[in-house]
Symmetry: C2
Subunit: 544 residues, 2 copies
């Protein structure tokens, strides 16, 4: 364009270092360390780190990694429980422009080796709790890698590597001028998802996306300077839904937690006046059903956000009764965690409890940083009508959609389609804008040509007083094509009801064709993040 | 770079329409209209607009303006009180990629004409309340311009233009496919500030900056879906600190207000359960000192943010007593309004009231979207020590720093220096990270929240035939914060004019709020090099 073709609004108004800064979540820490240096940033048992100390340790980590040869876009993997060192990695690694790869601690050695090889990790930081697992995985790692052990207080595992985390920090340069990033699109994190089939896929996040995800999550969740966030959600899971950054953006305090145990959680909530926590529905279940002697009373409201499967109304009820406010979110690793939420509408307070909980189980409100969400027909990419009936696939468009899958352009192209991220989740769209998830596309049961939402059947089953968790899958059937088959986990110390009683219970609450034809009692298989492994149940149902 | 030099993190992970959307505050409205279509977005007297209706009116405005020939980077000026149509302009104009130029309603006709000419406004939208003022200004506009009147219920002013706002909307296309923006750096707004010297400067904002400012303001101010925001801050002032967008990002409700009158404010707070408002310290003063019969009791906490001069402790005390929580902010038009705030620290609750109020009058915490704030020596650009004593200039680096001044590269270069936006405000830095403003930039007087350039007033005063030299400084005032106080040196052998004559002389040549409230005649104190010692005059004015 010739200069004379430019508008006055395009001349002399260029971006410069005063008015343009590449968006990066590391900024939240530099700001916090400058603005409230003495505020407690992290609590871990008896350990306390102020924002000054947290910043110092992150700079030292960056410096130490640089000394080990880590540079721009090198992968630094970490396997750790929710401990301060993991929070530090969320800053120290991006300070170098390197890529953080938090590993799922519940994976087996083969899966860990796969991730380390696929992501070509240059350094692996190991919480000593997982040293034996890592040592086994290292046998199958195909390249040179520096291994650093974090000296965990528990476990007498032999170290997995030659270096100690605190030694690396102690010998690092506290004045290290970390380079940061020149381009906010630069890759920040690598997260392997456990697909139900084939190899895990490596989801890649950008600095820009993580920055906006953190701001949007902090804003939506109501984090403030006074917030105390308890780490019941694994940080390796979608970067802990961006909370390692969001809590720092708010200037709040993070409370670490190694094991998700109700007794510890209740104690920490009371002791530190925890205001916010997140977790899979199974965490809510654990808290709601914790024995009385494990509970510690607290007199403040605690907000708990949960995602994954829609919690049954019984969970909302139990959690409210013991002082929690439940917020229900929907998202995926591909959307940096939460993309939509259920925003409680004051007029719901006037509804009967069942109806209120049903509204709370919907999640239609796009996060503020999400550009658009729609329920659409994946064939035509046209939105379904907002009639609460027509089922479509949830699709998201956002700066908080992943860059893509690492070294897997085919999978990326199947997921990011015509400007939308396809979730694979099926839902209906209500006239009020709410989205109600009906199922994963593969979890829908088609019986005699009728679609049956397994979630809907599970919701009814968990209303039965004996049932703690329910999972319904398709069982092949020569007559109907498929029939619903229910796997049921009982509450502790309760006997299984008679089949006839359970069937009658269902018939009173759902259309006849939706009533499970098969009922099986026992413990349900779960993934490392607490999701029920429906594919395992589907195999079992197929083999019946 | 050759392909083989690229990292795996740079291949197949490009930005696309699913994962990259140019940041624009218009997104907040499209999201709100989709997610909570029936929520009340705007209240104005008896009028209510849901998010569906607000979105519809904004699309119609965009369509109507497009039909008038408005296109990318054309300027659309608007002069209006805080009415719904002004909120609509904050969306309808950017939807076209055009530039919104909200005009200060308190300016005189000459200043308005200057803005319209300098910004080359293609369309001017006029709240009928200001039609006479605009009609006078139009006489000096140097180019063709379409003028649209908003039919205000009050005032019988003859319309300033040939078109009516509601007619434009009624004949517009509600299905108009507004183009949006391809580049988030694109100019969004133009705001004229009264600078210290010469003509007003046109501060230009970008879509990116406005988006981040809105998210950061909403996050910091604790806006939620349940928030009700009352418009006591002029929207023309730094785009209303981004709240026309921030409230929509939260999904809250905006309550319009034509006149800042305590009785109306109290009534609206009680009637609509207002949770948040903003205003200059004078607004707090008015509320704190409102006669009892104007007050309406409310039983909820109301958060009020104030900027400009630090409020005296008496204001904090009075406001707390009647149910307000005061948050103190610091910023400038050049930083999209608030850049830092005072974050109340729980341990201050234990301090004696005076000390607590002193802490509350500081403002050191950079907003979450602000990259960095420092107090530095403008000569060396090095930060001053954090000792609470050494005075330096406040400098800001942020994506929420203006793009620059329109058609004024010299002024831009003086303000955006070496990666920092120089505020011209002097402050000390405390060890806890708090910043305490010691002096406004010495030439600026802030009266009733409006900046008055002393040089501009001096220029007029010295045009009077009797005056040789003039120096105008701020005089503290319990109502206005500050008022202009003029020290005047007469020409030899000339008698001082009557005050009434001098005031009339000024009123004919400047906006009413800029006219000095105090006139003092005598010899002016000067340095050895002949510069007027304004600090001496400031002391004198303070002692009056």
């Amino acid at each position: 364009m010739m200069l004379q073709d430019l508008s006055a609004f395009e001349i002399g108004l260029e971006a410069n270092a005063a008015n343009f800064v590449p968006l990066s979540p590391v900024s939240f820490l530099t700001r916090a360390a400058s603005a409230f240096p003495d505020k407690v940033a992290v609590i871990d048992g008896e350990r306390r780190f102020t924002y000054t100390q947290l910043y110092d340790r992150c700079v030292r980590l960056a410096s130490g990694l640089a000394a080990l040869g880590v540079t721009r876009l090198d992968t630094v993997a970490i396997i750790a429980s929710n401990i301060p060192e993991l929070i530090e990695a969320f800053y120290g690694v991006p300070m170098l422009g390197a890529v953080l790869n938090p590993l799922n601690t519940r994976l087996d050695a083969a899966n860990i080796a796969f991730s380390l090889n696929h992501g070509q990790a240059k350094v692996l930081i190991v919480d000593r709790e997982y040293a034996a697992l890592v040592t086994a995985a290292l046998e199958n790692v195909d390249h040179e890698m520096t291994v650093i052990d974090i000296e965990a207080p528990l476990g007498a595992n032999a170290p997995a590597g030659a270096l100690r985390y605190e030694d690396v920090l102690a010998s690092a340069d506290p004045e290290f001028e970390w380079p940061g990033i020149p381009d906010e699109w630069q890759s920040l994190c690598l997260l392997y998802t456990s697909g139900t089939t084939g190899d895990p896929k490596g989801v890649v996040y950008s600095h820009r996306g993580a920055y906006l995800s953190a701001l949007g999550n902090g804003f939506s969740f109501g984090l403030t300077f006074d917030s105390v966030y308890l780490w019941t959600l694994p940080m390796f899971h979608c970067c802990g839904w961006s909370y390692p950054w969001a809590v720092v953006a708010a200037g709040g305090t993070q409370v670490c937690l190694r094991k998700v145990e109700p007794a510890t959680i209740f104690r920490l909530i009371a002791e530190h006046k925890v205001t916010h926590l997140c977790g899979a529905p199974i965490v809510l279940n654990m808290l709601a059903h914790a024995p009385k002697e494990q509970r510690v009373a607290f007199d403040h409201k605690v907000t708990i956000a949960t995602g994954g499967a829609a919690p049954p109304s019984s969970v909302f009820r139990s959690m409210e009764a013991i002082g929690f406010r439940v917020t229900h979110l929907y998202g995926a690793t591909e959307t940096y965690g939460p993309a939509t939420s259920c925003v409680f509408q004051p007029e719901w307070n006037g509804l009967p409890a069942e109806e209120r909980f049903a509204r709370m189980a919907r999640q239609g409100v796009a996060y503020p940083m999400v550009e658009a969400v729609m329920v659409a027909d994946p064939e035509t990419m046209q939105p379904v009508p907002r009639d609460g009936e027509r089922v479509g696939e949830i699709m998201v468009r956002s700066n908080t959609v992943m860059k893509g899958y690492l070294k897997n352009e085919a999978a990326t192209a199947k997921t990011l389609v015509e400007g939308w991220c396809l979730s694979g989740d099926l839902a209906v769209w209500h006239p009020d804008g709410a989205i109600e998830i009906k199922d994963r596309s593969k979890d829908i049961i088609i019986s005699g040509g009728e679609n049956i939402s397994s979630l809907e059947v599970e919701e009814v089953l968990t209303q039965h007083p004996s049932i703690m968790m329910a999972a319904v899958v398709a069982r092949p059937d020569p007559t109907w094509g498929e029939t619903p088959c229910a796997f049921l986990e009982l509450k502790p110390g309760v006997d299984a009801p008679q089949d006839a009683e359970m069937i009658a219970f269902c018939r009173a609450r759902m259309a006849r064709f939706k009533v499970p034809k098969t009922l099986i009692y026992g413990s349900l298989p779960k993934t490392s993040t607490g999701k029920i492994q429906k594919f395992v149940l589907r195999e079992r149902a197929g083999a019946l």
